[in-house]
């Protein structure tokens, strides 16, 4: 088997090269015409077609992307002389535990308005699932990004179709293809190989019955604060086309494909890029359409006033290890939201609302903050968290706050119930009768400070010298979907 490996090349070098070649001065012509762009649909047939020299631009290796597994194969092809070959690494591969990246047009972009789908043939060395394929991602704006998630590979060649949500938008698209694939099973996932061939934009003509949706087709109602900004991309924008096979193929689609309408622009305004700005008190319903077809689902926002200012911590910095607070210098974190697949639904993370830096989580079920370097909290007596839930609150709120250490023993952690529920807990849980730690949330929209005592290692097993993870979990699935968090820190009395 002959396999050609394409090396991961730093894009900057090529970019500079391109600049030096093309930057010759020109007079403006009398007859200025609108630029038109190439209409080539082919991306990879037997070789890359009109792509950048590096062909494959990997996701950032610093984020775990493996840049070694991309190449072409002359012995396994669907048709013609060559196919793309992807060696998906094992989850614990030292070069990176997954593979993925994009193909970018080598010119200024292509006019894809004459096509209705991206298609390709693929097969796997074994049956497996590729997490993501799509197009429209160029690592610059990603304005018209489209994703088809979790495609099932067969061990024989099979054709895959990714519908274009609205081709009239793609007058100058550079993002020709994106894929992301991890191994099979639980960590450390098992690697495998898959091949792709005849990758191209096509005018199939056989796509029909568009059914765009947002918010899972629900009429979602949320309470938010004046001055807040968020993207409609957080509300599950999809487009579905029925294929010739009768299958409804659903892709995620970037907000720029949609036209959004706000029922009251004195309350909420939506930009072309789908960014919503809350500019006044009241209620506004956001609806959408795509290529003239109404989107199923809507988002109604109640803007109830300015975002309350979180309490200002008063403790001396010398007595505090801060994780998220403007009052102190924070410990560096890897993330404020790990987006742990497949069970986590929580979206969001660090954001700014009306000038305040806060953590804002939506679709909340659980979320974790991971420190870059484990910290020693042996001297600390409490964990302090300010929480604000903007919604009308249910009475059965029951959450679990956990501190975990960097060691591998899954049983060594401290956990604390919050929300005021008083039933059985395991020995690692604190006193449920302590109203400061197990606080009740009476009303939505106000800040509440929770102070959780750090308990002896003899009771919890927590190794206090290497704490690196704080997890908040909606343990009984009470009807709380949105959390704001501020002033997350440990302190000693």
């Amino acid at each position: 088997m002959k396999t050609t490996k394409y090396k991961y090349i730093k894009a900057t070098f090529l970019f500079l090269l391109a600049l030096s070649i093309t930057s010759c001065e020109r007079e403006l012509s009398d007859k200025a015409e609108f630029a038109t762009y190439g209409t080539t649909g082919n991306i990879f047939i037997d070789a890359p077609v009109g792509l950048t020299d590096q062909f494959f631009v990997s996701f950032d290796p610093a984020g775990g992307a493996n840049t070694e597994g991309f190449g072409t194969d002359e012995s396994v092809t669907y048709q013609g002389a060559s196919a793309i070959r992807i060696d998906v690494p094992a989850g614990d591969d030292f070069n990176g535990g997954f593979i993925g990246g994009i193909f970018v047009d080598r010119g200024t972009g292509r006019n894809l308005t004459g096509y209705d789908a991206l298609t390709f043939w693929a097969k796997g060395s074994t049956t497996a699932t590729i997490g993501l394929v799509g197009f429209g991602t160029d690592f610059i704006e990603n304005k018209y990004a489209v994703g088809l998630e979790n495609i099932k590979l067969s061990t024989d060649w099979r054709k895959y179709t990714i519908p274009i949500p609205d081709a009239s938008k793609l007058i100058q698209e550079k993002g020709m293809f994106i894929f992301s694939a991890g191994g099979i099973g639980a960590f450390p996932e098992m690697g495998y190989t898959f091949w792709m061939d005849e990758l191209k934009f096509e005018k199939l003509g056989t796509l029909g019955q568009p059914q765009p949706t947002m918010a899972n087709k629900e009429d979602k109602v949320e309470t938010k604060f004046l001055g807040d900004q968020f993207s409609m991309a957080d509300y599950g924008l999809t487009q579905t086309f029925n294929l010739a096979s009768g299958i409804n193929q659903t892709v995620t689609a970037a907000p720029s494909y949609f036209s959004f309408t706000s029922s009251d622009i004195e309350v909420a305004r939506v930009s072309d890029a789908g960014i919503v700005s809350l500019v006044g008190n009241g209620t506004a319903k956001i609806t959408a359409s795509i290529a003239g077809i109404a989107v199923a689902g809507s988002l109604t926002i109640n803007v109830a006033g300015a975002f309350p200012v979180a309490p200002t911590p008063t403790l001396a910095a010398s007595n505090v290890i801060s994780i998220f607070s403007d009052a102190y210098t924070d410990e560096p974190v890897n993330f404020y939201n790990g987006f742990w697949e497949p069970y986590q639904t929580t979206l969001g993370g660090e954001t700014t609302i009306d000038g305040q830096n806060v953590l804002n989580y939506t679709n909340f079920n659980f979320v974790g903050t991971q420190l870059t370097t484990p910290i020693d909290i042996s001297e600390m007596t409490h964990l302090s968290i300010d929480i604000l839930m903007p919604e009308v609150l249910p009475t059965d709120i029951d959450m679990l706050v956990q501190l975990k250490s960097d060691n591998t023993d899954p049983n060594t952690f401290q956990q604390q119930r919050i929300g005021g529920q008083t039933y059985a807990w395991d020995p690692r849980t604190g006193d449920v009768n302590d109203t400061e730690s197990n606080a009740t949330f009476e009303t939505g929209g106000v800040w509440k400070t929770i102070k959780i005592p750090i308990r002896p290692t003899s009771e919890t097993g927590l190794d206090k010298t290497t704490v690196n993870l704080i997890v908040i979990e909606n343990i009984k699935n009470s009807n709380v979907t949105e959390l704001h968090i501020d002033n997350l820190y440990l302190y000693k009395e």
Binding site: K203, L204, G205, T206, L207, G208, N242, S245, G246
Partner: protein, 285 residues
């Protein structure tokens, strides 16, 4: 009147294209079996362009009411009503609508129009311009049944001896494919004489298409738009059974839900579904 003339002109174009296609077939086919003879049927006998809002012309159409026996013999799930909720005429279009609703023990309602006892004809060109519905379990059809169809008494014949010409059948889950079939003694139910036609780069639920046959004493030709895609000859039929197509037939247009041919709808099937009929025309020689 102008409108009708224009449509006749288009008909002629279609026929001419058909002729040239047949000419090609004749010129390039090696075996004599593949030669086709096309008769030109240009004498318009009757038509319905559905130009009177709100009225399904009672001189042409009767509407079924009920579920037939065993779901019209196919375990179909719909109840056919004569209500305007299921069949109506507006702006030149007959709309047959399949609705998901509890109705007299059925989970769906729809409509079935027939020219039985009103317009029956032996031989001719039968065609309709239709935009088809879509989705798993959706089964529209444009077809002919022998006018002598009955219970076998009083000179009637039981199916399939009475004959059935399916000009167009379609599965909503296969939106690019239609089927043209013949049923008769020796070739019926799951074993008809049939052929499928698939649109290239298009699908039947995106726009209107013309479905037609030309039927003579010696063959039945099947068309979609300007493409002749099949000819079934008397000889082919008689290899399998009896040619029962020398007597008048009537037209049926219906939209079934579920049934043996398509299976039941699933949770992705969108209701209501509509079958839009622009016109029905019948010609003789």
């Amino acid at each position: 009147m102008d409108k009708k003339n224009k449509k006749s002109m288009r008909m002629t174009t279609i026929l001419l294209k058909t002729f040239s296609l047949v000419g090609l077939l004749i010129a390039f086919s090696c075996t004599p079996d593949e030669t086709q003879v096309v008769t030109e049927f240009q004498d318009l006998v009757f038509y319905d362009e559905f130009d009177t809002d709100g009225l399904i012309n009672p001189d042409i159409w009767g509407l079924s009411d009920g579920t037939g026996t065993d779901g019209w013999g196919n375990n179909e799930l719909q109840y056919y009503t004569d209500r305007t909720e299921n069949a109506s005429v507006r702006k030149g279009i007959l709309t047959i609508k399949a609705v998901e609703e509890d109705y007299s023990g059925a989970a769906y309602t729809s409509a079935r129009l027939s020219t039985k006892g009103l317009k029956e004809q032996k031989y001719g060109r039968f065609e309709a311009r239709i935009k088809l519905p879509t989705g798993q379990g959706i089964w529209p059809a444009f077809w002919l049944l022998g006018a002598n169809n009955g219970d076998g008494t009083n000179g009637t014949e039981i199916w399939p001896n009475s004959g059935e010409i399916d000009i167009m059948e379609y599965r909503g889950q296969a939106p690019t494919i239609i089927h043209g079939s013949l049923h008769g003694p020796g070739y019926s139910a799951a074993n008809p004489i049939t052929k499928s036609y698939a649109l290239e780069n298009d699908r039947f639920d995106n726009d209107f298409h013309i479905f037609g046959i030309e039927w003579t004493a010696s063959y039945i030709n099947y068309y979609v738009d300007d493409v002749l895609y099949n000819q079934i000859t008397r000889e082919q039929v008689e290899e399998k059974g009896v040619w029962v197509f020398d007597q008048p037939f009537f037209i049926i247009i219906n939209l079934a839900v579920g049934g043996n041919f398509v299976g039941a709808p699933n949770n992705e099937t969108v209701f209501p579904q509509t079958m839009l009929v622009d016109y029905v025309k019948v010609y003789k020689k």
